[in-house]
Amino acid sequence: MSRVMGLTGDEAIAYAVKQSNVDVVAAYPITPQTIIVEAFSEYVHNGEVNTEFVCVESEHSAMSACIGSSLTGARVFTASSSQGLALMHEMLYIASGLRCPIVMGVANRALSAPINIHGDHSDMMGSRDCGWIQIYGENAQEAYDWTLQAFRIAEDSNVLLPVTVNIDGFILSHSLEGVEVLEDGDAARFLSTRKPVLTIDPSKPITVGALCLTDYYFEMKCQQAEALKETPKAIDQVSREYESLTGRRYSFIETYGLEDAQAAILCLGSTAGTAKAVAKNLRSRGKKVGVIKPWLYRPFPAKEIVKAAENLEALAVLDRACSFGALYGALGNDVVSALYQEGKKLNVFNVVYGLGGRDIAPFDIEAIFKEALEVAETGLVKEPLKFVGVRE
């Protein structure tokens, strides 16, 4: 059984957290994530949840408290954005290094300076190497679905790693959509309570966070890298179970129109929705274009992306963040590396767009598709990295 509720992206995440029997939420307000903690505070103050809500004094303390709670065996959630995520950067690495299952909703927002509250991916991309599983949702439905699945994934005994569920700031965080939600009982059956593997139990004392020098540190980091690399198995298993409950099938990537596409756009989050709509329109006019949308950004689904791109003649990779001084944006770098590693020769160009919430309109996307088709025809990439939507 399911029903439809009108929820913003932030509210959809808060509602999923409500249905997840979360033990501890430690969070700090920041735009555009704030609605998540506000909505959750209402659940707490109206007695709708049993959660311990810790209104910390900073994002750094939010993640620190989450780590403490997770080590104690609790199910833990927090949310952040932008400067807040940057402030907890130090703790992100410790959360994954200590193998703490934690779920964090991130309403992606630009980083200062200059200060800007609107959506881009600079915040999460700035912490992309933090060892977390990183998921991007396209709409409020995906934000809800992935949040529920994220707890199962993080707490899986073969994973034990933190997970971020990313949604575009304002574009998703503040947009009201119809969201199909589970009945509480179904959600509770899907999630149950956390079954921790190892905790700081006084009856079985352990030391957590010891000093590891040249003799052990490297091995531990390699084990962590291996653990993250192995997570797709658990993600796949959880997604299949979620599909049987909801009928909604999630995977590492979603594709559109790739059965015959010559050229495609690869992008994260809400932009994929616009790209699919534009592709549909172009396809009705006989243009062979498609879309690749990674749901999973870390670990990077390289094989799935290369396979999806196998019949393409050109690919435009869209980055909503700038990797200053690099050849491409973060996503661009990943895609080009994946193609190279698999020995696939494909003409790729990278587009940086939408910084600070600059709108990416259908006509921008259409122009990118047209350029990709031109590259497919000519086999020539004129500009490997370009900025789209910026005033000259």
Partner: protein, 306 residues
């Protein structure tokens, strides 16, 4: 006051750690764990105590011990305490667990003050112990907000123009007590029964408690390692380190010092003050004595002893 007979003979902080000979932090940790009353978890900020007691794959701790980072011991303790509350609500845990956060002066006075203030304001049930060796000793003796006026450190050296640290020490207990917490106190390891009694009191109160304990450091204060406890006693007997408590806002002087020794008796055995015993800078000794006298007046007035 506790008596020796009442203390557990069990050593929950074991020997074999790699703290320096004469380090106050090891003594403080050992004495703290003598005061436990039941299941307890230790949270340790980055610092000497942390790096020297848990060099993987070894540990000196026979209770659960967690180190996360430098500035967040109080926030991590908040998370652990909240988790136990949540687990109890869903009947997944039924015992009370005491939580003790250990941090040095750098992790408390400076980089950790925000996390500490937040945790005190929120009222988490935990005991925070600041072992104060008056500088960043772990990174090689840099000045902190707890370093006293005149002390030479590697970032406040005894120069030809500026003789050590120009600024004075923060009033940590004043800051903590201003949060309206039930129990805050200073202590010195030279007065073990006073310290252990305070640890037990700090565990007993519901809500946050803070103990600020003097911690001699032979390497950083530059004194003989066999004189650590003697120095910890001199700090009290010269009135440099008043030992008092603040319970429910009420100040109480725990160790009276009716006939104080001059502060130079405390300064002299320490290499960090050696430059003050020269004709050029000896006037600084009077400045320090004046600070000690004024601070004592202020504290004893608060304690109703003036």
């Amino acid at each position: 006051m506790v008596t020796l007979k009442e203390l557990t003979t069990e050593e929950l902080f074991t020997s074999g750690h790699r703290l320096c000979a004469g380090c106050g932090a090891g003594t403080v940790a050992r004495m703290t764990l003598k005061a436990l009353r039941g299941p307890t978890i230790a949270v340790n900020a980055t610092g000497c105590l942390e790096v020297s007691s848990t060099i993987y794959p070894f540990t000196s701790w026979k209770i659960p011990w967690v180190h996360v980072a430098f500035e967040n011991a109080a926030a991590v303790a908040s998370g652990i305490e909240s988790a136990y509350k949540a687990l109890a609500k869903r009947n997944a845990w039924d015992k009370h667990v005491d939580i003790i956060a250990f941090a040095g002066d750098g992790g408390t006075f400076d980089i950790g003050i925000q996390a500490l203030s937040g945790a005190l304001e929120r009222g988490h049930d935990f005991l925070y112990i600041c072992y104060d060796n008056e500088a960043y000793m772990n990174t090689g003796i840099q000045r902190s907000g707890a370093t006293p006026h005149g002390a030479a450190t590697t970032t406040s050296p005894a120069g030809t123009k500026i003789p050590g640290k120009p600024e004075f020490k923060k009033d940590l207990i004043g800051i903590c007590a201003a949060h309206g917490i039930e129990f805050a106190a200073t202590a010195s390891p030279a007065y073990w029964n006073d310290y252990i009694t305070k640890v037990r009191r700090g565990l007993e109160v519901e809500g946050p408690a803070v103990i600020h304990v003097y911690s001699p450091c032979p390497l950083g204060m530059r004194h003989d390692s066999e004189k650590s406890i003697e120095l910890a006693r001199l700090a009290v007997q010269t009135r440099y380190w008043p030992v008092y408590e603040v319970e429910k806002g009420k100040y109480k002087l725990n160790i009276k010092v009716p006939k104080p020794k001059p502060v130079v008796d405390y300064l002299k055995p320490q290499g960090r003050f050696r430059h003050l015993f020269t004709p050029q800078f000896q006037h600084e000794l009077d400045v320090i004595q004046h600070w000690v006298d004024e601070n004592w007046k202020r504290i004893t007035a608060l304690c109703g002893e003036a």
